[in-house]
């Protein structure tokens, strides 16, 4: 029996909860490993679909409906067949219990039909080229089990019946649990790992110990000074690869209640100057241990979506997203931001005072450090910036409600820049999520973003994206600084076949936001 040990989430104790719809406290190994997606899109390979439960899908030409065809030999882990009826059941179920619908799929689809035993057809609310991706995010659950669950929101699904590779849980304690091979898994031929073991690791110290002594094969943790603390312990086998992930950016609340600050924030030159005052490299080196990836793209593409980036945008506006304190000062001088009252800080051209705090959650130390470095830079160009460290919940609330001046924020990584653009610049989301915190909306951008989904033609999509990123870069609503790393450590002592920097065939992060982790697992083989 081959057992692969992985660290998937920090926890003080494991709670046996495999409810795939529960996004807060279900074990993170539930999706993908127990409930296999219909299709996995490989972001590291041009977002190509890798067919899992579905053997194909077909988007109608008008992009208004999509049909998935399931594999014919699918079985649930208890041996019962998995059919289109289960898919339909699942979606109907989500409609009945909206709290389970963690991607709001029912605002996206309007109807589902089981065409035959193997085929389901979704009717979409609006034409969308991204239908397959959207729909594949949700797990499919067995009707014969779930139809009897009285309250699926509080249901812990302790002995899951699933469709994925690892559905059996032979051992579960507060400190460790194993998830083992599904005897009825359709793709068992490719699966070389019999079990995955998840030890409970509560904090950095424990994770470090488990990582450094080689207990872990696959890790998702932040490890300080990794070359020293980890790799050097066994350079032949211990590796890591930090590819870019979610984007971290500073932003100003363009609708802040502070009138003086608001004047400055709404001035593009001011935003550009602040952006140029940010020493991004130091942030990465010092606050981020060198792990993050520099992001100097005012169009927000960065390394993560580099295939979508329009080089001309970077050429035109890139300098505004690059550290250059002198240029920042010059720009501020030029725009009339001078110290009028002699307090050592620049004021608005009309003489009113500018003074703002950048909010950052108090327990996110690397961000706190990042903001500290930002504040140093901003103060160095003569602006009165401070750091404020509220509780995480308060920070989130402030971002949502717009009760702040400036902040550091992040946009999660996705398959294409469509998602961050959609989330950050949809006027309808204002006051609902923290991604619209800057409160910068542009009808043109929104139109282009919608256009993006209305075509399946890559060239057209690119075109829309090019236009959108130019507008964003020009206006600089967000000031990107870096992309967080995809945390990924791997140990080649017991397993080979990992996705690596040299052979980046798939996003290897084991975190649950990455369905492609399934592909990495299937690629692994025990070392003889």
């Amino acid at each position: 029996q081959t057992v692969l040990t992985a660290n998937i989430e920090p926890a003080t104790t494991w709670v046996r909860n495999f409810n795939p719809f529960n996004q807060t406290s279900a074990r993170q190994s539930t999706l993908d490993f127990i409930y296999e997606p219909l299709v996995v899109f490989n972001r590291f390979d041009s977002n190509k679909p890798v067919y899992r439960l579905a053997e194909s899908f077909k988007l109608s030409d008008d992009l208004k409906s999509i049909e998935f065809k399931l594999r014919s030999d699918l079985k649930w882990s208890d041996g019962k067949p998995l059919t289109a009826a289960d898919v339909k059941f699942t979606y109907d179920y989500l409609k009945k219990f909206p709290a389970l619908d963690f991607v709001s799929i029912w605002t996206f689809v309007t109807d589902i039909k089981a065409v035959d035993g193997q085929t389901v057809r979704f009717t979409l609310a609006n034409p969308s080229s991204l239908a397959a991706e959207q729909i594949s995010q949700l797990p499919i659950v067995p009707e014969h089990v779930w139809k009897d669950v009285a309250d699926p929101v509080t249901f812990a699904n302790e002995t899951p019946v699933g469709s994925g590779p690892l559905t059996e849980v032979p051992r579960f304690t507060g400190q460790t649990y194993d998830q083992c091979r599904n005897p009825h898994y359709w793709d068992n031929a490719h699966l070389k790992v019999d079990c995955m073991r998840f030890p409970q690791l509560a904090d950095n110290n424990q994770i470090l110990t488990a990582t450094a002594d080689g207990t872990l094969d696959w890790g998702v943790s932040f490890i300080p000074d990794i070359d020293n603390v980890y790799v050097s312990k066994d350079p032949a086998h211990f590796h890591y690869w930090y590819s870019p992930s979610s984007m971290v950016a500073f932003l100003f609340n363009l609708e802040t209640a502070n009138e003086n600050n608001k004047k400055a924030f709404n001035d593009l030159k001011f935003r550009r100057a602040v952006s140029m005052a940010l020493d991004r490299k130091t942030m990465i080196e010092v606050a981020g241990y060198g792990y993050p990836t520099l992001n100097e793209d005012p169009g927000l593409m960065g390394e993560l979506y580099k295939s979508w980036a329009d080089p001309s945008v970077k050429a035109d506006f890139g300098k505004f997203a690059t550290y250059d304190a002198d240029a920042a000062k010059a720009l501020l001088d030029e725009a009339g931001y001078k110290d009028k009252d002699g307090d050592g800080f620049r004021d608005n051209p009309d003489g009113s005072k500018i003074s703002f705090s950048i909010i950052v959650p108090n327990s996110w130390t690397d961000w706190v450090d990042t903001v500290n470095i930002a504040v140093e830079g901003i103060q160095a160009v003569g602006l009165d910036a401070k750091i404020e460290t509220p509780e995480e919940a308060v920070w989130t609330g402030n971002l949502i409600n717009g009760t702040f001046d400036a902040a550091i924020n992040s946009l999660p990584a996705s398959a294409s820049p469509y998602y961050p653009y959609k989330r950050a610049f949809s006027a309808s989301d204002k006051g609902k999520t923290r991604f619209t915190a800057q409160r910068w909306f542009n009808p043109e951008v929104e139109k282009l973003v919608t256009e993006f989904t209305h075509t399946a033609d890559l060239a057209k999509q690119k075109d829309a994206m090019n236009k959108a990123q130019r507008i964003v870069a020009e206006n600089m609503p967000m000031i990107p600084v870096f992309n967080n790393p995809n945390w990924y450590q791997y140990n080649t002592k017991r397993f080979s076949g990992w996705s690596t920097k040299e052979n980046p065939f798939v996003n290897p992060s084991i975190s649950r936001t990455n369905p492609a982790r399934l592909l990495n697992l299937l690629a692994l083989e025990p070392v003889k």
Binding site: N204, N205, L208, T209, P224, D225, N228, V229, V286, A287, N362, S363, T365, V368, D369, N372, I373, E376, I387, E388, T389, P390, E391, V394
Partner: protein, 292 residues
């Protein structure tokens, strides 16, 4: 004061505290570094440039240590004063007035005593959010007076029985005068012990709250030093200077305060004293000068 200086424990304790206070006051003279600024490479071991090394983001540990002493001392003494003030006032009032007043105050005192303090503080600090050292001092003052109130009350009860209080009452002295001029001077040693104990408690608790991440991470104090060091896994990455420095500082200050505490205890209760005379005694016995 004289008795205090004659007591060796007190002397050592005072010297320690005076040393820390001096260092805190003279902080700007002792280091050229800004405790908040990055002044070096991250996690540099101690060297001539940075005598206690640097933190995770390159701040000078020594600068943080000596500036942090200010916070620790201020919170310790501020909260200690507050705790003592509230505790003493309530203790004397409830002990002296007796009756309904006593019942009500005692009820609250006992209530506060049976609610576990640190967990409560933790929750309070979390609810207040980003508790600055000042806020920590305030909530400490608000929640930790009960022990002092209880012992002061007990002591007041016994002082109250003394004839000089009776005599003042018969003399027609107003109550507030009896409490402040007749009773207070006679419970002063309890108040002293309470004060020093509260200071120790406040210093430790502030550090603990901050260590647990419930303080303001920007504050420069020993607690946040611990917190940041722990967050940066200083132990695991071998940056011992980052974490051991505030540890030892806290222990040092704690020992100083404790010594003082014990000394005051001994002064208040002469039976506890083990002075020089016992040494002289054993010397005499050993030299055959006498016996028991």
């Amino acid at each position: 004061m004289k008795t205090l200086l004659q007591n060796r424990k007190a002397l050592v304790g005072l010297v320690i505290i005076a040393f820390i206070v001096l260092v805190a006051i003279a902080a700007p003279l002792l280091t050229q570094y800004d405790p908040a600024a990055r002044t070096g490479r991250p996690h540099q071991p101690p060297s001539l440039d940075h005598i206690l090394g640097t933190t995770r983001i390159g701040q000078d540990v020594f600068a943080r240590l000596i500036y942090g002493a200010r916070t620790s001392l201020a919170v310790g003494f501020g909260a200690g004063l507050l705790i003592t003030l509230v505790g003493t006032a309530l203790g004397i009032i409830s002990g002296y007035r007796g009756g309904k007043t006593d019942e009500i105050i005692s009820f609250f005192t006992n209530m506060v005593l049976v609610v576990p303090n640190l967990p409560l503080l933790l929750v309070l600090a979390a609810f207040i959010g980003q508790a600055s050292p000042l806020v920590i001092a305030l909530i400490l003052g608000a929640t930790s007076w009960a022990w002092g109130a209880r012992v002061t009350r007990a002591e007041t009860l016994s002082v109250k029985q003394k004839d000089f209080v009776k005599s003042a009452e018969m003399m027609g002295e107003p109550q507030w005068r009896i409490m402040t001029f007749e009773i207070f001077p006679n419970v002063i040693s309890i108040v002293g012990i309470n004060f020093i104990g509260s200071v120790i408690f406040a210093i430790i608790t502030e550090a603990t709250l901050e260590f647990l991440g419930l303080g303001d991470p920007r504050a420069i104090s020993w607690g946040t030093m611990l917190y940041n060091a722990q967050k940066a896994s200083a132990l695991s990455v071998g940056a011992w200077w980052d974490i051991l420095t505030p540890c030892f500082a806290l222990a040092f200050l704690g020992i100083g305060m404790s010594l003082l505490n014990f000394a005051v205890d001994e002064i208040a209760n002469p039976r506890l004293r083990t002075g020089n005379h016992l040494k002289r005694w054993s010397l005499l016995v050993r030299s055959g000068e006498g016996r028991l």
